[in-house]
């Protein structure tokens, strides 16, 4: 094709497009003219003028140029399906592709996300522990007791267990708790109980509740072992660990959940990262409770080593088959070593007589020798 024919075609060509005025859904077949501004005209349409610098591309069907105009009604649209005409208009609009939504720079979003994650990490690692430490002592005691009551109801339902109350055993248990309580100098009333379940464990709940599970009693060889464990739980009460942990876990779960939102499969990520951070927090609390227990036992003139031995009997050596960064407690062998290092010959009287000890052992009813 020669130039003359091309020019003739261009001159005779109707620059047709489709126009929507943004005030109604009427579809105008319009003719475009490129003057000082874009001139849009049709037979019964009042002339429309769009300044080139206000014209912006918007989403449209592939192959067509669809554009709006900043100074026109927001949804007014011109649609050009002829590629050469679209190119002609595009060449006149200097800011056609400014502020495109796909112009959103991924790098900027990544950068801001990193900043957000960093700030959340700082909050999780520093601000929430601090807040938990400061807030826990401010929680009024009645509220704390209510928390404990709610957990108590749930706990007994889950374990299907009741509190053991053999009178002789109960007397021995109270004597032991009294001795420990005096030495621990707690600022709240303690409500201890023994639960009839074969699981070897003990724990403390808010509101001064201490639970000793019968399974642990069964594995214990002497009163000092049990006393050490109970002193450890009193340490948790003294430091208000369950309340602190509640605030801490609630805060971190919330923030980490916020971060990942509803990305499918993110719950595993949430779970994993939460386990990592809360485990380190909980290890710290356990360490402090151990320190407290050692202190109480030494004040009573008894060896803290007994507790370590009981723990070791229950868990065995842990280092071989668990990942220390995921564990909520320090490794038992490390705890035993720490308590053994502080071992001293007993200087105080035994905490329970032999008769009291055997009464305590059978507080949940007589049992066969394990």
């Amino acid at each position: 094709m020669d130039n003359a024919a091309e020019d003739a075609a261009a001159a005779g060509r109707v620059r047709s497009a489709i126009y929507f005025d943004g005030k109604s859904s009427r579809r105008w077949a319009v003719v475009l003219a490129f003057g000082e501004q874009l001139e849009i005209s049709a037979e019964d349409l009042p002339p429309v003028l769009w300044p080139y610098s206000d014209i912006r591309r918007v989403d449209g069907a592939p192959g067509a140029l669809r554009a709006g105009c900043l100074s026109a009604p927001p949804l007014a649209r011109i649609e050009i399906r002829d590629p050469s005409l679209a190119a002609e208009l595009a060449s006149r609009c200097p800011r056609l592709d400014k502020n495109r939504p796909d112009g959103h720079s991924a790098a900027r979003i990544v950068g801001w996300s990193l900043a957000a994650v960093l700030s959340i990490a700082v909050v999780v690692l520093f601000a929430i522990p601090l807040a938990a430490d400061r807030l826990a002592p401010l929680v009024p005691e009645p509220f704390e007791r209510r928390l404990g009551d709610a957990a108590d109801v749930q706990l007994k339902t889950v374990f299907g267990a009741h509190a053991c109350n053999d009178p002789a055993g109960q007397a021995a248990f109270s004597k032991l708790m009294d001795a420990l309580g005096k030495s621990a100098e707690l600022d709240m009333p303690v409500r201890p109980s023994v639960l009839a379940t074969p699981i070897p464990n003990a724990f403390a709940l808010p509101g001064g509740r201490v639970y000793l599970l019968n399974g642990l009693l069964a594995k214990a060889n002497n009163a000092d072992e049990i006393a050490g464990v109970l002193a450890h739980e009193l340490g948790h009460l003294k430091h208000r660990d369950s309340l602190r942990e509640l605030i801490y876990n609630g805060g971190t779960s919330f923030l980490i959940g916020l971060l990942f939102g509803d990305v499918t499969g993110s719950s595993a990520v949430v779970f994993a990262s939460r386990t990592l951070v809360t485990a380190s927090y909980s290890r710290q609390a356990e360490q402090n409770a151990d320190t407290f227990a050692i202190d109480v036992m030494q004040k009573l003139g008894r060896s803290p080593k007994a507790m370590g031995e009981l723990l070791f009997r229950v868990t065995g050596k842990q280092g071989d088959n668990s990942l220390s960064i995921l564990a909520g407690h320090p490794l038992t062998e490390d705890r035993l070593k720490r308590m053994s290092d502080l071992d001293r010959p007993a200087s105080g009287p035994p905490l329970l007589t032999a008769a009291e000890w055997s009464a305590l052992k059978s507080i949940c009813g007589p049992r066969d020798k394990v």
Partner: protein, 377 residues
């Protein structure tokens, strides 16, 4: 043209016009794959922009009567809506926690009824999120919009939900019809008011044998995807055929078997990806065992190796993200294309000159939906 010869009093109705989806599959795949990678890099924050890009792609490649729709929502709006929703949800969660403690004290697990409150809030969020999406949908320079109350909707959804529970799913068609009537009655295209003409009994006739079959389908695995695909196809067709905007009526010829392939392909990819990940985990374990030296040390080395844990974590993330891409590709894009190809519109002349009306709704609803994990398309 030849109609002119007998000069009718009124112009004859135009023949039904098709809708259709013309999006390029490769382009959509690249969009979602890149989005998944960015979601990983931004710890999930990219989801607002990804979901916006997906909608922009689907909307702008969907043409009705020859004119493509346009999605005018933006990722930043969703982010801001999400942050606002969080600011409102946080105190609610706190109060919720306090009330559940009180309830637990009275009775173990007595706080479960409170979950129902959260469910109602989820329904509210679904309604408001739909409102956001609809007001960002533009066709021929006129936007769709929505009024009505999210709480009125949540209330209806809850009552109907109770009925569905009590009848073991028997009442589901009537629930869907009633809720859809409420949503469509409050949906508008410019000055055209929407409505929903689908009846629960019609849907029930399509669905009762699937309902009877469902206990068997749940037990017998290969049957379940077929039954579910049938259910979804019938549900989509019934829904589409019930939609009205003024005198504009939709009609769908979606086949009952239309989704079989989609669901089986998703299941196939799922199994393949899980198997590949399993093999990868196995290989990682084997390498760690080999490096540990000696078969006796191997089990301990595997359970204590931190590099192994990191490798497994990465493998898991890649698995989750590729599953996301597969689901979006088949269950959003391909499903949308199939549905759109089946649609015809009758009486489109009623939409030839509709006045613009309606305001933009905020993205707060989408933020709630994200915060409560009930987000939709």
């Amino acid at each position: 043209m030849n109609q002119m010869s007998f000069a009718p009093q009124q112009p004859p109705p135009l023949p039904p016009v098709p809708a259709g989806f013309s999006g390029d599959r490769g382009e959509f795949f690249r969009l979602t794959a890149r989005g998944a990678a960015l979601e990983l890099a931004t710890f999930g924050f990219y989801r607002f922009w990804l979901v916006t890009d997906i909608r922009r792609h689907l909307w702008s490649h969907t043409a009705i009567d020859g004119d493509a729709a346009e999605y005018t929502g933006r990722g930043k709006e969703l982010l801001i809506g999400f942050l606002f929703a969080m600011a409102i949800l946080v105190p609610i969660y706190l109060v919720y926690a306090l009330i559940s403690i009180e309830a637990e004290r009275l009775k173990a697990f007595g706080s479960i009824p409170l979950l129902i409150g959260l469910y109602a809030f989820g329904q509210f969020a679904i309604y408001r999120a739909r409102r956001y999406r609809l007001t960002r949908t533009v066709w021929r320079g006129v936007r769709f919009w929505m009024d009505g109350s999210g709480w009125a909707y949540a209330w209806r959804a809850m009552l109907w939900g109770c009925l569905v529970l009590l009848t073991l799913g028997f009442a589901l068609p009537w629930r869907e019809a009633a809720l859809e009537r409420y949503k469509m009655r409050h949906s508008h295209y410019g000055e055209l008011q929407g409505s929903f003409a689908g009846r629960g009994s019609e849907f029930f006739r399509q669905f009762w044998w699937l309902w009877l079959l469902s206990p068997i389908a749940i037990v017998l695995f290969p049957l379940a995807p077929f039954a579910y695909a049938q259910f979804k196809a019938r549900e989509w067709r019934w829904w589409l055929c019930g939609l009205r905007f003024g005198a504009v009526r939709l009609d769908s010829k979606l086949l009952n078997t239309a989704f079989y392939g989609l669901y089986w392909k998703v299941i196939g990819w799922f199994m393949l990806l899980v198997t590949v990940t399993g093999v990868y985990f196995g290989l990682c374990g084997a390498v760690v065992a080999m490096l540990s030296g000696g078969p006796s040390a191997a089990p301990a080395a595997i359970s204590r190796s931190i590099p192994l844990l990191v490798m497994i974590g990465l493998g898991y993330l890649v698995l989750v993200l590729s599953l996301n891409v597969v689901m979006r590709l088949y269950l959003q894009r391909d499903l949308w294309a199939k549905v759109m190809a089946s649609v015809h519109l009758h009486g489109i002349e009623a939409a030839a000159n509709v006045g613009a009306k309606g305001d933009l709704a905020s993205a707060l609803g989408e933020g709630f939906a994200d915060g409560l994990d009930v987000a939709g398309f």
